[in-house]
Amino acid sequence: MDFKIYSSPHLPVTDNVPVMMQRVLIAMVPGTVCAAWVFGPGILVNVLLASITAIAAEAGMLYLRNKPVVTTLFDGSALLTGVLLGAALPPLTPWWIPVTGCLFAIVVAKQLYGGIGYNPFNPAMAGFVVLIISFPFELTLWSAPHQSLGLLDTLRLMFMNTLPDGMTLDALTMATPMDNIKTHLGLNETITEIRGTGLFGNFGGSGWEAINLWFLLGGLWLLKTRVIQWQIPVSMLGAMSCMALVFYLSNPDTYTSPVFQLFSGATMLGAFFIATDPVSASTTPRGRIIYGAGIGMLTYLIRTWGGFPEGIAFAVLLMNMAAPTIDYYTQPRVFGQGGD
């Protein structure tokens, strides 16, 4: 009797990329829903627009590159890029912002480098950085927490740039706590004085602390289901806290506390969902610790002294560049080679 030949190992596979991506998407839900609850339906519109753009761009590029369109789309990575980028954008931004960002992310940052597995930079963050450099104004259109427009008004603003009668964009939008602190510190105000403006919540930025908590929860679930490993989030949050602590202790009036840093801006989203993107991150166990710590430190540096209120996107791209070198110098000691 004759048989077919297969390569070892023969046991059925246990894991697959689509399931991993699905889990990341599921873990994104609580934080994203919370963001929509705080900042209004514009967040969800962004996520939707970005996702549709990402999938369309991916399909188009795969078709042009003569790659299998359907099976690759089902790996879910394009959708994830869309959701990540959409969730990072302000809720009152015009419709073409998520579309442009996502087009760049998928077409240039991902597919032109060879598609999933070959992109040296995190596509979502590459798209975000292009947007924040090219359209800084549109990226400031955050609404005040819990004072957003309804769905219809949001859509009208995003797509037709019209506001309800008697409303101005200035009145509607509000700088994020991070941005605000930077502006006020520039005016020589102390943190205590800035705290009086109501931008702060219990421990982080108002509204942002809840969002960060939910993203943290999703991230912990990813750790538990072993979709991601602990090294990058732990080292990133650890390094950020250490930096913040040192400066906070040196002068609490000019520097925000570590807790504020951890629960403001996109910290948790960055730590668990962005920095952990395996393709562009370091892959050795020790390398991941260095990589995460690098992102944590760079984020703090950019937030505190840089020209932009949020630094995660830049920090991630910078460490993406360093990842191959980190990997090279952090190879594990091979079994039976020295030591005992």
């Binding site: 077919k4 023969h10 046991l11 059925p12 894991d15 999933i116 597995g117 091979v334 039976g336």
Partner: protein, 563 residues
């Protein structure tokens, strides 16, 4: 570690030595499926009508065939002798007639045929005249025992098939502290070692004692897995029956691939075998329980290795079980002895589901390394889904027992960058398959590594050949140059001599000496000319002669005449 009542400690043994177990990096906890084949005791598969005995059933040189078609052979008769240092002989598994010596299907990942001796059995199972059993082995020299083991064709029965005598012989150069007897089933489904320990603990232990006599190790550890309580109990009972305090039974956790020699040594001792070295380099020798039993049979019963215990299992077999199978029996015969295939059988493997390989036909024979015949259905092991690009998730790194970076190795193996792959320690890969098992992109990683290794070997061979050619070419050039050089040297020497001669003529002193010598020579010549017909001359004639002589003298040397 289990601190049961059967651990014996004597003062000279370091009590802490095996006090706790160690871990190796990575590894997998896999579903065992061992129970499938453990319902029935070990049975005898019987004598098949045809035995196909490949000449290569071990690591090393192919054995040299000693029989020809038409020869009648007896059970246990030597059919092919070991050739070279690392090799093993082949014996007839039963009596019958040699019908062919030709290439036959062979259980190997490559699927290519291999030369084999084909015997038509006569069913009489007549044994050849056997030599003397070495019952008093403990009074014998180790070299005699080693020779017996070599003559018996014993190789590592755990699956690697390295000639046992060669492995034991390395104790000549290294003092052996520890003998590890490997009762850890390497993979899921396989249960042959487990049942062997349950049913033949005495044989194993006697084999262990022979090995102890050969190696003289300080300690001996018999390692069993934590899912084999019956085997552990049997081994402990056998050990306590020997009252040898140097033998200890240790229970190790079932983490794949603990059955690997290097991993097991790490678990038991905490030490690592050097990456390009052997266990003997750190004073350890590891032998499979089946090998120990085979040593017992060879030494005490004088029976060469002609059969082994094979686990025939999987959902593709009607009645999975363990059988004592004659070497050379076809897989098909063994499967038939287990009730045949189920209807939906899809693939047939030799070895376990992690490191075993698929065979394309069941006409391949059971050989010395066939620990398991695994027939599985599509539902049990569906065909692998198509591979997706690597997303560098690093799951492979976290399970690799050799501490490699499989994703980097894959990257370089795929792009054909063999130098980089070797920089990332390609040859430390043990091909255990852990990385491919957890890969979410379903990349057949092991296949890539195997391929890269083969490429490197091919390149090295070519490089060696090129090196030889280059050396030859260089030697030829050198030789031609030397001839040229010598010729030139001869020329110059000649020229110099000539030139020296020219110089002589110009030297007045030398010329004077030369002239003087010439004169002496001429004088001597004249003096040597003796006058003829001078007898009976008249005085008148004699006077005339004298006058002529005087005149001649005067003419030839006027100078002298003047003096």
């Amino acid at each position: 570690m289990d601190q049961g009542s059967n651990i014996y400690v004597t003062p000279e043994v370091d009590t802490d030595r095996f006090g706790h177990l160690h871990r190796f990096h990575g590894g997998l906890v896999l579903a065992g499926h061992h129970e499938l084949s453990m319902v029935l005791p070990i049975s005898n598969a019987g004598i098949p009508p045809l035995l196909v005995l490949p000449l290569q059933q071990h690591i090393g040189e192919t054995a040299e065939c000693l029989v020809k078609p038409g020869d009648h052979v007896y059970k246990g008769q030597l059919l092919a002798r070991a050739r070279g240092n690392v090799s093993a002989p082949v014996h007839a598994s039963s009596s019958g007639t040699v019908v062919a010596v030709e290439d036959r299907p062979y259980p190997h990942p490559s699927g290519i045929d291999n030369p084999a001796i084909v015997i038509e059995t006569d069913g009489r199972d007549e044994a050849a005249d056997s030599g003397n059993p070495m019952i008093a082995y403990h009074q014998m020299d180790r070299s005699r025992l080693l020779e017996r083991i070599r003559q018996s064709g014993i190789v590592g029965l755990g699956g690697a098939g390295f000639p046992t005598e060669v492995k034991l012989g390395s104790s000549t150069y290294h003092a052996i502290d520890l003998l590890v007897i490997n009762g850890v089933e390497c993979e899921p489904y396989i249960s042959c070692d487990n049942l062997l320990m349950q049913e033949r603990a005495g044989e194993i232990l006697e084999g262990v004692r022979i090995l102890q006599h050969i190696l003289q190790p300080r300690d001996c550890v018999i390692a069993v897995e934590d899912h084999m309580p019956a085997a552990e109990a049997a081994m402990r009972a056998a050990v306590s029956a020997t009252t040898d305090s140097r033998i200890e039974v240790i229970r190790v956790p079932a983490i794949y691939p603990t059955g690997g020699e290097r991993q097991l040594i790490r678990v038991v001792t905490g030490r690592e075998v050097p990456s390009q070295g052997l266990p003997a380099d750190i004073g350890i020798i590891c032998q499979n329980v089946g090998t120990a039993a085979a040593v017992y049979r060879a030494v005490i019963q004088n029976r060469p290795l002609i059969s082994r215990i094979v686990t025939v299992t999987g959902t593709g077999v009607v009645q999975p079980r363990n059988m004592e199978v004659l070497l050379g029996t076809s897989f098909a015969f063994a499967i038939d002895a287990c009730g045949g295939y189920t209807n939906d059988v899809d693939r047939l493997l030799m070895g376990g589901p992690m490191m075993g390989f698929a065979v394309h036909t069941d006409s391949v024979p059971v050989i010395k390394t066939s620990n398991c015949i695994l027939a599985v259905t599509r539902t049990e092991m569906p065909p692998p889904p198509p591979a997706l690009p690597c997303i560098r998730c690093g799951k492979c790194t976290s399970v690799c027992p050799a501490d490699l970076l499989p994703q980097q190795l894959y990257w370089y193996a795929r792009s054909g960058n063999l130098d980089a792959a070797q920089d990332y320690h390609l040859f430390d890969c043990i091909e255990c398959g852990c990385c491919a098992y957890v890969c979410p992109s379903h990349i057949p990683l092991v296949q890539y590594y195997r391929h890269a290794k083969e490429e490197v070997w091919v390149q090295e061979k070519q490089k060696k050949a090129a090196d030889i050619a280059r050396r030859r070419h260089a030697a030829r050039l050198e030789r031609l140059e030397r001839i040229q050089r010598e010729r030139a040297a001869r020329h110059t020497r000649k020229k110099e001599t000539l030139a020296a001669a020219g110089n002589d003529r110009e030297d007045p002193k030398k010329a004077a000496i030369q002239a003087a010598l010439e004169r002496v020579r001429r004088k001597k010549e004249l003096a040597d000319i003796a006058p003829q017909n001078v007898e009976g001359l008249t005085p008148e004639q004699e006077r005339k002669i004298r006058e002529v002589d005087a005149r001649r003298q005067k003419q030839s040397s006027p100078g002298e005449a003047d003096n």
